[in-house]
Amino acid sequence: MEQQGRELAQEIKVIVFQLGSEEYGVEVHQVLSIERMQKITRVPRTPAFVKGVINLRGVVTPVIDLRARFGLPEVEYTEDTRIVVVSVNDMEVGLIVDAANDVIDVPVNRIDPPPAVVGGVKADYLRGVAKLDDRLLVLLNLDRVLNAQEVAQLSAMSW
């Protein structure tokens, strides 16, 4: 019983979304909401992966394209495209993903450290890889993905 209890406690709830054929996950407590694609106001002189800002119930929220952030080829937005709004280090940022439709529990003991590169994404941005029954879930390290200082530097450099 005790053994089982501990194992249960060591599960994390993860929101799953797609980029191309890969499935990625962020912990549910970091996710504020999932929004449909909407009109984004472009912010000039920011890195290319910063798509701009949206009005999220009165709060102006920056939005980045996760494909562009990871250096993956960008695609046209479709009906399935979603903006996953996350909160990390007091920053609220929307992540544009191909689709988001699942919440699953991932046992911590199934998470392995990430290989150097997964589907073209550098290990730096990853927290680990979870092997579940028939799927492979890549867990993101949002602290690294959303680095305000890096954005500021890139903004200054690109002009």
């Binding site: 920056p62 954005v151 903004s155």
Partner: protein
């Protein structure tokens, strides 16, 4: 007594008394014979001494004790006030402020040297040839009030007797509550508590009394009221009507007696007025003129501290959140308005209209909540100007008006330093010495005024003096020396342009660099600081008659007036305060000057900012005639092409969020009526030096 729980109260009250000391000393300095001011100063010093003694801050007691002696000698006519007195007393107040700051920061008071001030105070005392023997004794911390103010002996003519207790005036509600309780078989007690005469933290004692009573039941009436008690607005007595729910009357009495500095407690069963002979209200206990005097004293104190009461401190972030939610509501309102119009539903239209009115009231309310009166900043200036004047050997009358003018919290925080600078400037550079003034046929005492007022969506703060005025020739000479202007230009400059030179970095006309101002960091800093909060500063001056600095500030930072424009299909907002005008220019008038496009504008040539390139915009066509927006930052002008002017409107300024902190030339964003986000252009970025 548990000190820590009263520390906060001690700090707040001492601050009030220190402010009072400063204010009254300033009055006293003007009029040495103002008895009221002498008494007020004495009272404040005395109160601080008593409180400090209770809290165990001995070094503060030493200082206030000697202050008291000096003041006492003045009060009794044993000494007359000299400028020396004033200086030493002010110094003592400064020392007390330093000590209080240490208390606040939890530092050791013994680390602050009091010997100098104490020696000076005692020297004054020696001069006046009297006063109590030096060195405070614990006994002297007790109130040396007039003998008549002694509380009447227990059981004497005082109000503890039956008759006085029956004089209680209950309103209908209180009476019915008390009667109801009696009917239910609960004991109703009338309680009289007398607090020790020498008690310093009366409000604290009163609080403990009320608190203790509430442990035993429900309080129907407290006299003086709880609000008055909190203000320390009371004599020695508190009367309470308690519905007893727990314990016995004896237990209540014992508990109340257990509070320190409580001198007398009487607990008696209450009887309704109708059941007994009701004595005339004149029987309300007020024990003679001495008690009246004491009441007046408390009244004065209460008056001084009524401000800021009955208020709640709210984190500014919460107000921002409220503002955010509110602007969201406004956007929805606009949508509903449109929907209602298309539907043509009359009742819906009427409701929406009502909602619009309420929301505009609500907006005003939210805005005013963020407002703080400018006097929170002005308060410290009288003292500062006085010190400066003494230091500079000048005579100054300082007048402050409009202290109640409200300004947004965020703006308030930023205007202190610029005002300090302008006031210093007025006393140091503006006013002449008394000799010079006499020679010029002016009164020796110069006038410095600080005035604040509202006008439209702006707040104006003016700092003016009746001094020598700005010397145009001197400014020009200096500007040529510094290479700011060509000698040839000099005569063609308007006065306004000349005065603006004062705001150039590193400009100072004072020939002798004084300790006070003229350190080179100066008006340019004032200007940029004010610009940061969307403000402006101008100078007006007449030679020989004086100088006036006019500061113009936005009422609030979160809502600004802006012009909406569209460029290549994107909407941007440009703050109105940086716009000079809108214009149409012919493409042929755009010239190329060393790789920079320029256009002619009112006799000058100004750069055309290439927003298309800067913002990576793709305008579909190049027109023969283009709309341009002329913007400025101080004396720097610039222009940029826009496709369309969409009109002027009030916008709510929002940040882009922490993820996008420093985006070049973007001051923030706003949400438009249709829910879209428009970026706000910070023109200053294009017009940087």
């Amino acid at each position: 007594m548990e000190n820590s729980s009263y520390l906060h109260m001690f700090i707040e009250e001492t601050k009030e008394h220190l402010q009072q000391l400063n204010e009254q000393l300033l009055i006293l300095e003007k009029d040495h014979s103002d008895q009221e001011a002498i008494h007020a100063v004495f009272r404040s010093a005395h109160t601080i001494k008593g409180m400090a003694a209770t809290m165990g801050f001995e070094p503060m007691v030493w200082v206030t004790h000697d202050m008291e002696n000096v003041l006492d000698a003045i009060r009794n006519g044993r000494a007359s006030i000299t400028p020396d007195h004033m200086d030493v007393l002010f110094k003592a107040v400064d020392l007390l402020e330093t000590q209080l700051a240490a208390v606040e920061n939890g530092e050791d008071l013994n680390g602050i040297d009091t010997s100098e001030v104490v020696e000076e105070l005692q020297r004054l005392l020696g001069e006046s040839g009297g006063g109590e023997p030096v060195g405070p004794s614990p006994a002297s911390a007790a109130a040396p009030g007039p003998a008549g103010a002694e509380a009447p002996p227990e059981g004497g003519s005082g109000p503890s007797a039956e008759g006085a207790v029956q004089a209680w005036q209950l309103d209908a509600f209180q009476e019915s509550v008390a009667k109801e309780a009696k009917r239910e078989g609960l004991g109703v007690l009338q309680i009289l508590v007398r607090i020790d005469e020498g008690c310093v933290l009366k409000a604290a004692r009163a609080y403990m009394v009320v608190d203790t009573c509430e442990e035993y039941g429900e309080l129907v009436k407290v006299e003086p009221s709880v609000e008055e008690l909190e203000q320390g607005k009371m004599d020695q007595e508190i009367r309470l009507l308690l519905i007893l729910k727990r314990g016995t009357p004896e237990a209540v009495r014992d508990a109340l007696m257990g509070i320190s500095e409580v001198r007398h407690v009487s607990v008696e069963p209450w009887t309704a007025v109708a059941e007994s002979v009701s004595p005339p209200p004149a029987a309300t206990p007020k024990a003679g003129p001495a008690a009246k005097a004491a009441a007046q004293k408390e009244d004065l104190k209460a008056k001084a501290s009524t401000r800021g009461l009955k208020s709640v401190r709210v984190d500014i972030e919460r107000l921002d959140a409220l503002m955010n939610l509110f602007s969201e509501l406004v956007i929805d309102r606009t949508r509903i308005e449109e929907l209602a119009k298309t539907s043509g539903h009359q009742e819906l239209l009427a409701t929406v209209e009502h909602m619009a009115r309420i929301s505009s009231d609500l907006q005003n309310l939210v805005m005013t909540i963020r407002m703080v009166p400018v006097e929170t900043v002005f308060n410290r200036f009288p003292r500062m100007v006085r010190d400066l004047a003494r230091e500079m050997g000048k005579q100054v009358e300082f007048v402050v008006r409009g202290g109640d003018t409200g300004l947004d919290r965020t703006v308030i925080d930023e205007i202190g330093d610029p005002l300090v600078h302008l006031l210093r400037n007025a006393v140091d550079h503006g006013l002449e010495t008394p000799e010079e003034r006499r020679a010029a046929g002016k009164p020796e005492t110069g006038l410095v005024q600080l005035v604040a007022y509202h006008s439209g969506n702006q707040v104006f703060i003016e700092v003016s003096d009746d001094g020598r005025g700005v010397d145009r020739e001197k400014v020009i000479r200096k500007a040529i020396e510094r290479g700011l202007i060509d000698p040839g230009q000099a005569n063609s400059l308007t006065d306004g342009q000349v005065y603006d030179l004062l705001f150039q970095p590193g400009f100072s006309t004072k020939e002798v660099v004084s300790d006070v101002s003229g350190r080179g960091v100066g008006l340019d800093v004032v200007k940029s600081k004010l610009e940061q909060v969307g403000g402006k500063v101008q100078v007006q001056s007449k030679p020989g008659q004086g100088t006036k600095w006019i500061i113009q500030l936005p009422l609030t930072l979160s809502i600004i007036q802006a012009m909406l424009v569209s460029i290549a299909g994107e909407k941007y907002a440009v703050p109105l305060h940086s716009i000079v005008e809108t214009a149409v220019i012919a493409r042929k008038d755009i010239r190329d000057l060393h790789g920079q496009q320029v256009i002619p504008f009112r006799g000058r040539v100004i750069p055309l900012i290439d927003l298309e390139q800067l913002y990576d915009l793709r305008r579909p066509e190049v027109r023969d005639e283009e709309n341009v927006l002329i913007v400025r930052r101080g004396e720097r002008y610039g222009a940029f092409i826009v496709d369309e002017f969409l009109g002027q409107q009030e916008i709510v300024l929002k940040s882009l969020g922490r993820y996008l902190q420093q985006v070049f030339s973007i001051a923030g964003a706003t949400v438009l009526g249709d829910g879209q986000v428009a970026l706000i252009i910070d023109c200053n970025a294009f017009l940087a030096a």
